[in-house]
């Protein structure tokens, strides 16, 4: 047990220091998004949604077919779960006026206005008329 401890302690200590340095190097947006960096096709849609949707507002997440360049983790459940977490206290609601569109079928929202768009990643924030 002492041999194992003598072997593992320096490694674990070095790993902890390495993680601390890596965490310190993150910029504020990377740190705020955390796991979202692995799930979302682009950081901007999360930050834009936080800025545009009022805190007492509601939103829906609509995810279409995977686009080139998207992470393998960008599947509908993961994207919806992540946005639910990241945008709290804004609540998810399938009938919400705000639509977070990840390559979604925009013809499903004929009256929606595009309030923000990132064409290369097929991302948009749509707003239905109230």
């Amino acid at each position: 047990m002492l041999v194992a401890l003598a072997w593992l302690y320096p490694h674990a200590f070095a790993d902890a220091n390495r993680s601390a340095r890596a965490n310190a190097r993150l910029d504020n947006i990377d740190r705020a998004l955390g796991g979202g960096n692995s799930v979302l096709p682009a950081q901007a849609i999360a930050m834009e949604a936080r800025g545009r949707i009022p805190e007492d507002g509601t939103f829906a997440v609509s995810v279409g077919p995977r686009q080139p360049g998207w992470s393998v983790l960008a599947i509908p459940d993961s994207v919806a779960n992540y946005m639910r977490y990241f945008l709290l206290p804004r609540q998810m609601d399938p009938n919400a006026p705000w639509i977070l569109c990840f390559a979604c079928d925009r013809s499903a929202y004929p009256d929606a206005q595009v309030v923000w768009e990132d064409s290369p990643d097929a991302l948009a924030i749509l707003r239905l008329p109230s």
């Binding site: 674990a12 902890a16 955390g34």
Partner: protein, 447 residues
């Protein structure tokens, strides 16, 4: 991450420790500064557990989770402990603690320094960590945020996030941390989990201090902190480490209660087990295992006390089950593992994960050998209790894998939580080793 957030979090955690120590004082667990210092870690865990159990019930009852009420609840818990202590005649002797001297003190000092250095490095990791783990952002932290933002069990969040069956004790602690930090700071939240690790080490060391010499106490405790799988996940804002700490420290208290029948140990274990049962689904299974092993290895005349502890744990589980049932959330228990053809695969998997050198280093192997040695040469009641407890924990893991057909029969953590579950057995091995080895060592010293 700000100094204000860190200071708020520190104040909240000191408050947990004050609550727990007042409850321990009321239970006549200590009456000197030395005793207080030795039980400070346990006091912290006990305060956190009591707060979590109380607020789980209060949230179900519809009490809003605001700053004032949270502070009031901490004050009331502390006052209850102090008043009960007064009524029970608990005293306090202000004599200075005696640290001892000689080589043993040197071993303790060196070990505390090694633990401190590693924990300091973990603190620097924790204070700027981003929220990476899937389970953390998919449901644990959102539930905490929901309690923080909406002052209660928001039906939408608590019924639509994944794993809706999990009780809300961990989210309650997250929400309290957000209030203490002055906002929903999910980065500084990692420091709350760091404090839990510090509390767990202090609790285990403090409880074992009088029952094992330093040179047998510290190596397993240090090793469990740095074994690959345990060390990597200590700071993840999920309920796994909390559950392991609560259940294993409770198991240690029951083991010591079997030796000295100190009622305060069983009372503290009951509160920790109640918190464990309100932390995750498997918490009920693990708490029941601890109590069942306690029944088997105690004399019948001690059973009424164990029965009272069991009833207390069962009653504290009810509020969440009532809320969950009212909102059509199932119990989430596995089906029978017999007849579905998965039992053998689940057994092999649990065994392979438990004795994985790459994950846990030599801890499970050394613990198994120590258990065998203690059964032959040492304290047979202690060894029997720990062996049965280990078997029940192991059987619980097999049952989970076999009973949930949707779980893959492999150790990939995305498809089966068996590795996380096994963490309880590894932490149990680490805190049991000093007791087992000491019982064998002291048996050899007998004339």
């Amino acid at each position: 991450m700000t100094v204000r957030a860190l200071a708020g979090l520190a104040a909240l955690n000191v408050a947990y420790a004050v609550v727990g120590l007042s409850l321990l004082w009321a239970a006549l667990a200590f009456r000197t500064w030395g005793g207080l210092l030795r039980l400070a870690g346990l006091g912290y865990l006990l305060g956190l557990a009591a707060f979590g159990v109380l607020w789980t019930a209060l949230l179900v009852a519809g009490v809003p989770f605001g700053v004032v009420v949270v502070v009031l609840s901490l004050v009331v818990l502390t006052a209850a402990g102090l008043v009960a202590g007064r009524l029970r005649g608990a005293g306090f002797d202000g004599a200075r603690p005696c640290l001892g001297a000689g080589p043993i003190l040197l071993v303790s000092a060196a070990s505390v320094a090694l633990a401190g250095m590693f924990l300091e490095a973990l603190f620097r990791t924790a204070r700027l960590s981003s929220l990476q783990e899937y389970d953390a952002w998919a449901f644990w932290v959102p539930k905490g945020l929901a309690i923080f933002f909406f002052d209660g069990l928001d039906v939408h969040v608590f019924t639509t996030t994944p794993n809706a069956t999990y009780p809300p004790l961990q989210p309650v602690l997250d929400a309290a941390a957000f209030h203490a930090m002055g906002g929903p700071d999910v980065v500084t939240l990692h420091v709350q989990f760091w404090l839990l690790v510090v509390g767990a080490v202090a609790a285990a060391a403090g409880l074992l201090h009088r029952h094992a010499p330093s040179w047998l106490l510290w190596p397993p405790l240090l090793l469990v902190l740095v074994v690959p799988r345990f060390g990597e996940r200590l700071l993840a804002p999920q309920a796994d480490v909390l559950l392991q700490v609560l259940v294993v420290v409770a198991a240690l208290l029951v083991a010591l209660w079997l030796r000295d029948r100190g009622d305060w140990r069983l009372a503290a274990a009951a509160v920790l087990l109640a918190a464990g049962a309100n932390t995750k689904r498997e918490g009920i299974l693990l708490a029941a295992s601890v109590l069942a092993a306690g029944f088997v290895f105690s004399r019948p005349r001690w059973w009424p006390r164990l029965a009272a502890a069991s009833v207390f744990v069962a009653v504290t589980v009810l509020p969440w089950r009532i809320w969950a049932g009212r909102h059509d959330i199932g119990a989430g228990a596995p089906s029978s593992p017999f007849g579905n053809g998965r039992l053998r695969g689940a057994l092999d998997l649990s065994f392979e994960v438990l004795y994985s050198n790459a994950r846990w280093s030599v801890l499970p192997v050394v613990a198994t050998i120590a258990l065998g040695a203690a059964l032959v040469w040492g304290d047979r009641r202690l060894a029997g209790y720990l062996a049965l407890l280990g078997l029940l924990f192991f059987a619980g893991g097999v049952w989970s894998t076999a009973g949930f057909p949707e779980l893959a029969i492999n150790a990939d953590e995305g498809g089966n939580p068996i590795v996380r579950y096994t963490g309880s057995m590894i932490f149990l091995a680490a805190v049991a080793l000093p007791l087992l080895l000491t019982s064998v060592w002291r048996a050899g010293e007998d004339p």
